[in-house]
Structure formats: structure tokens, C-alpha cells
Symmetry: C2
Subunit: 385 residues, 2 copies
């Protein structure tokens, strides 16, 4: 059976050409980049090329890129690292219900350690409200963290407007670019963020590597202590094959995004239109202002997990929540914040694509979904057509 | 020119068969192990096999293995994670001058945050003194961290004796197994440590992955917050190819250590004997109780960096300090603690092997080293033969 993978938010395949670039650094150029001898040179140079490539994707200077072990570590560093440098009276962090679990958990730990936290709610389309943001972001805020797009429903956030507010109150601005970086251009020269999280696997690079952009002059201390690698912000011998792969993936994305992103939009729109043909189905998130690769649909009277399993039996991989919390049966906080009831959140599916997906994939899902929904509704005591 | 690599403490090559096991997890079994659908299964199962293999290397239960991004992160987690759970009045950590830079830096950060720290000095052979340990380890100590072997000079530490002291005072015991795990057997059932750091690259696995053994029942909180992976102790989507490679490397080491370790001892002893034939040269560290792969030799009246560069020009890679701090010109604290003067520490070279090294490598170094030392001594104003 052909496998159709529509769960790219949970994990993406590493591109073959990326793996090819990594391979020599496992067995041949395996030296430590800090070594002075011959075997330190290639890894050192390769790391700098990777840093230039990742920097180039977001228009930053290479010296502003700190390599980490992934988006979660980047987010932990971004939110906690600046705390010792915050100004007097600045003891609050502002996040949103659009944020990834790692932003929520890190900011909750910050709250437990004695600072305060505010969480911006979302409107029905998954956007934060600027009115609430204006009420919430004050002089006591040291940081505002907003994702470029909601991790789950894909709604884009009003970053430019938030940035103005943040700067007005002398706070730092962290943007989580994890889900958007491979599909929507972003430039730190155009949008003056202080900290930006990037993930390699979400650029079709290897897992276990990420980066944090730290704008020159930003006061920040490292979380992981040791030999003082990465300008003292991230100790530990560098994961050279991973970093090389991350750089190769960033380069691929930069060269090809303008080709595959419009195509993803077409597939997404076809998928959304087709699935909304099923009675009592609804789009979660904004109809236009959303990630090219994201279709998040809810089907009334049906459980997401059951749909997921039947789709899986038909060769289709999707997600009912965010992957890292799927073992948790709590409904998505993003969906609840958007005003959905528990059972509506539970009846939602995330279809997320990568450049390998085709229009045929969407057509197959559209052909198979109605009978799955019907089958499950027939079993539901709540469904009375 | 044939390259002879004798800098395995700085980085080891990943074994080809290890890379082969990793490859399918980049491009084929790329799913997120938390996913419920088909593509989550293989990564999930592979991660559990890797956990069993790593656990098996040190005789632990798989549930006691927490995967991290490497030894440095493991050490940060080991030293800081238990702080919130320490008993009343327990506000001191004890480390030693044999420790890796990451233990020193992490414990220094702990000291800066308000706790206290004691650093055990070393005797002339690189061993901690049990007399000093007895004086130092008291009821106010929450943790003692000792490496199985000195990272630089390779001297083995009296772990069993320290363990007794540690238990007597109700402290936790962390053992850094980074440099020893591939060459000397270790079993957590025989030596009752609470926390043990393991590194993948030092087992000839990939860089960017490590583990912390946490004995069942040990109170510890995670440093990196997020989706609650690794029993809540290390959030972040798992680096599956890296973890698979780590497991494969652990399995290789378990199967082959008894074959290659005695061979490494022979090569080491031949190398030490040959190099001590050079006038005014000395072995650093214990002559017998040392890592099979480590020869650390000092040459009077010569600079380590200069020898390193001339060896490099002759195709030989070695290290003059610990790799991650080579950019730092401070002399090694381990060597100073052993009673060496600054210039003696600066004249020391680390020759560290892996199972790919041969007796021929040692013979070549022995053949070339005398003229390098002589050449440099001829230029030295301090040398008056």
C-alpha cells in the first residue's frame, strides 16, 4: 500500500541530498572543530559554511546564529537566557495560546521560579487579538514570545504589530519560526526580532539540531555550561554532521521555497475544499492567512483518534493534536482558546504537508475521508442526522 | 601522506556499521516516535532497542536511561537536576580536578547561584586522595561527581572507596564515564552510583547524542522544558537517527571491548616506553592504573603547541590539552593539580587511541618524535644540554 504522509508537523523526512552532505563528517572528517591539527580544519570550515547558510535563510549575520540540539532547546535558551540581563521591574513574560508546548512549559517553569506570565488568548481564527496584546504588554514585561504561525492550526500571527508594541515597552521579542521557516520567507532585517528559533528537522534537515538567532547586543546567558562553545551560549562538542545537514537543508529551502510553497497552497486549498464537502465539517484557523502546508479540519460527532486510526489503516498518516503531546488526551489548548468546545477540539485533524506531497495525495484523502467519517458517525450516540 | 589519528579524546570516528544502521531513519523511518500512526512505530521501537543496548552496556534497566544531546548536557542535568530534591542543609557539591570542563563550569554556575563547591586536588599520579576526600565529604554535601578516569591523563579514580564515603553521608554519586565507557567495563549493579554520564561519540557513535543513567527513585527535575519527553527529564522531539547510532555503538563496544582493549594497552605501553626513551621526557598520570587508550607525555624545555604543529606536518594528530579548551592558553588544571609547573603542563601531549589504531601507528610516532623534540629544544633558550 502506498503511504501518504500528511503529518509533517510531527516530523519531516531528511532530504537525501542533505544526508549525502552529512555522511563524510561521520567517518572521514570526524575531527573536533576545536582541534588545531589537520583533522580539525574541515569540520571547522564546514560548521562555518553551515552557519552562513542558516544565517542567510533569515538574513542575519552568521555570528548571530547559535547552534543548539533543536527547537525545544532554542526556546528554553531564548526565554530563560535573557532573565539575568532584564531591566529593573521587568519580571513578566508574555506568550500566547498559539505557542508550542515547549514555550508553554518553559514559561510555566519561569513563573514557578518567581517571575510572572501572561498568556494571550486567540480569536476564532487562531489569531491573537491586538486589543488584548495592547492591554497585556506593559513596562513590566521583559519578553514577548509569539510564533510566526500557530503550530497546530497554521494561522499566521500579526508579528509586525506586536513588534511595535514590544519595542514601545522596551521588551525583547522572540519569534518561533519552527513551522513556518521552510515555507514562508522571513528576514530579521525586515522584522526586528531579538531572538528567533529555528529547527533543522522542520527544514527537512536532520533531527537533533536547531539554532537560536540572537541579535547582536542582546544580553543572554547560556543554559548548558562547559567548554564555552557557541560564544559561551551553548557548551558541548559540536554535532558536526547534524550542523552540516542543517546548513544543507537551509540552503535547499532558500533555493526552492518559491517553487514548492505556491504548490503546497494549491494542494492545501484543494484538500480543504474537498473535505469541507463532508457534512458538518469545518476549517479550524484562518481561511487565507495560514501556513501553505496546513489544513486543520474538524468533523462534528467524531473522535479525532478514531479517524486517525482508520486513515492509518488506509495508508494515510495524520495527526489529531500536536505530536509531542498526542499521548496526552487533554484537548488542544490552541483550539479551546479559539472558542471550540472540548468535543469539537477532539474531532479535529491536522493535515500537514511537505514538498514531497502531491495533488494526488489530497485527492486520495478526499476520496476516502467521507466513508470514514460516515462509518464513525454511524457508531456515535451523539449523531442524529 | 597517511594520517595517524591519536586524538580520540577530542573526537572519534563514527563506525561505518553504526552509520549504516542510522541511515534508514533519516529518509525512510522518519516519523515522530510519539505518533500513533504507522510511521511512529519503527522509530518508537528503534528508540527502545537503542535504550536497551545502552542500558545493557552498563547493566542498568532501560527505564533508567535518559537520552540527551551529549555528555555536556548529561553532566548539566546530573549536577543541577537533583538540586530541588536535596535534603535540608545539603548545599554543597564536591568535584575534582580530574573532571572535564563541563563539570567544572556547571558546578561553578551552581556555586554562583548560592550553593557551595569543593574541588578535590590530585596526587602526582592524577588520583584524588582518599584522605582529602574523607575530610571534604560531609553531611552538607548533596552530590559528589568523579570521573571514572581523568579526562586528560587517563588515571583511574578510586570509585569504590569514594562511593562508600558518599553513601555514608547521604549524598548522590555522579560518575562521568565519557572517556572510559568504550574501553573499561562498568556495571551500575556492581558500583551503586546514582547518576552516570555516557557519550555516544566516545563510543564511536554519532556526535550530538548522549545519555544520563538515573537510578530508579532518584529525585531529579529536567532542565529543558517542553513536551515532557524522556519521562519529563528531557523535552524535545527525539533525535532518532542519533539515538539509533548510539545504541548500535553501545552494542559494538559491548561485543568487542574485550578484544580491542588489551590490544590498546599493548600499543599504549609500547608508545609510552618508546617516547620515554627521549631524554628529559616523563609520563603524566599513573603508570599502571590508567585508560588503555591514553599516553600523556611531557617533554621538558618544549612547548606542546609547537610539537603538536610539527607532528601535524608529519601526518600525526594529537592534542596538547583537552580539545574543547585548546583555544584557551591556560595550562591544564588537572596537570597543575598534579603538581606540575606551568611550563611542564605546557610541554605535555595527549596521545589517545581508538580501536582503529595499530602498533604501526605507535612505531611511526616513536620514530619521528625524537627529531621533533630535538629540533624544538635546539630553538629553546631554556635548553642547556
Amino acid at each position: 500500500m502506498k503511504r501518504i504522509y500528511l503529518d509533517s508537523n510531527s516530523a519531516m523526512p531528511t532530504r537525501r541530498e542533505v544526508v549525502e552532505e552529512m555522511l563524510p563528517f561521520f567517518t572521514e572528517h570526524y575531527g573536533n572543530p576545536s582541534s588545531i591539527h589537520e583533522l580539525g580544519k574541515k569540520p571547522r570550515r564546514a560548521m562555518e559554511v553551515a552557519r552562513e547558510r542558516v544565517a542567510s535563510l533569515i538574513g542575519s549575520d552568521p555570528s548571530e546564529i547559535i547552534f543548539t540540539s533543536g527547537a525545544t532547546e532554542s526556546i528554553n535558551l531564548a526565554l530563560r537566557g535573557p532573565i539575568p540581563f532584564r531591566g529593573p521591574g521587568k519580571d513578566r513574560i508574555v506568550i500566547s495560546q498559539a505557542d508550542h508546548q515547549s514555550v508553554r512549559a518553559t514559561s510555566a517553569a519561569i513563573e514557578n521560579s518567581g517571575l510572572r506570565r501572561s498568556v494571550l488568548e486567540l480569536d476564532g481564527s487562531g489569531r491573537i487579538s491586538m486589543e488584548e496584546a495592547e492591554r497585556t504588554i506593559g513596562e513590566d514585561v521583559y519578553m514577548v514570545s509569539i510564533p510566526f504561525a500557530s503550530h497546530e492550526v497554521g494561522t499566521l500571527q500579526p508579528l509586525g504589530e506586536v513588534l511595535e508594541l514590544v519595542k514601545e515597552h522596551g521588551a525583547l521579542f522572540h519569534i518561533d519560526l519552527t513551522t513556518s521557516a521552510f515555507q514562508i520567507p522571513f528576514d530579521v532585517k525586515e522584522l526586528d526580532a531579538d531572538l528567533v528559533t529555528l529547527s533543522s528537522v522542520d527544514l527537512m534537515g536532520p533531527k537533533g539540531v536547531g539554532a537560536l538567532f540572537v541579535r547582536k547586543g542582546t544580553g543572554i546567558s547560556g543554559l548548558i555550561k562547559g567548554g564555552g562553545h557557541e560564544r559561551g551560549l551553548r557548551s558541548g562538542s559540536e554535532n558536526i554532521p547534524g550542523i552540516v545537514g542543517f546548513g544543507a537543508a537551509a540552503e535547499y529551502v532558500k533555493q526552492n521555497m518559491s517553487i514548492y510553497s505556491p504548490r503546497l497552497c494549491s494542494i492545501r486549498d484543494h484538500l480543504i475544499k474537498g473535505l469541507l464537502g463532508i457534512p458538518d465539517s469545518h476549517l479550524n484557523g484562518h481561511p487565507k492567512s495560514r501556513l501553505p502546508n496546513n489544513a486543520n479540519i474538524r468533523f462534528d460527532y467524531v473522535e479525532g483518534e478514531s479517524m486517525l486510526l482508520l486513515l492509518d489503516m488506509n495508508g494515510i498518516s495524520v495527526s489529531s493534536g500536536s505530536a509531542c503531546t498526542q499521548k496526552n488526551l487533554e484537548p488542544s489548548r490552541t483550539l479551546l482558546s479559539m472558542g471550540l468546545r472540548h468535543e469539537e477540539a477532539h474531532g479535529s485533524l491536522q493535515f500537514t504537508m511537505n514538498p514531497d506531497n502531491t495533488m494526488e495525495d489530497a485527492k486520495y484523502v478526499i476520496s476516502i475521508m467521507p466513508e470514514i467519517v460516515e462509518q464513525l458517525r454511524d457508531m456515535s450516540p451523539l449523531y442524529n442526522p
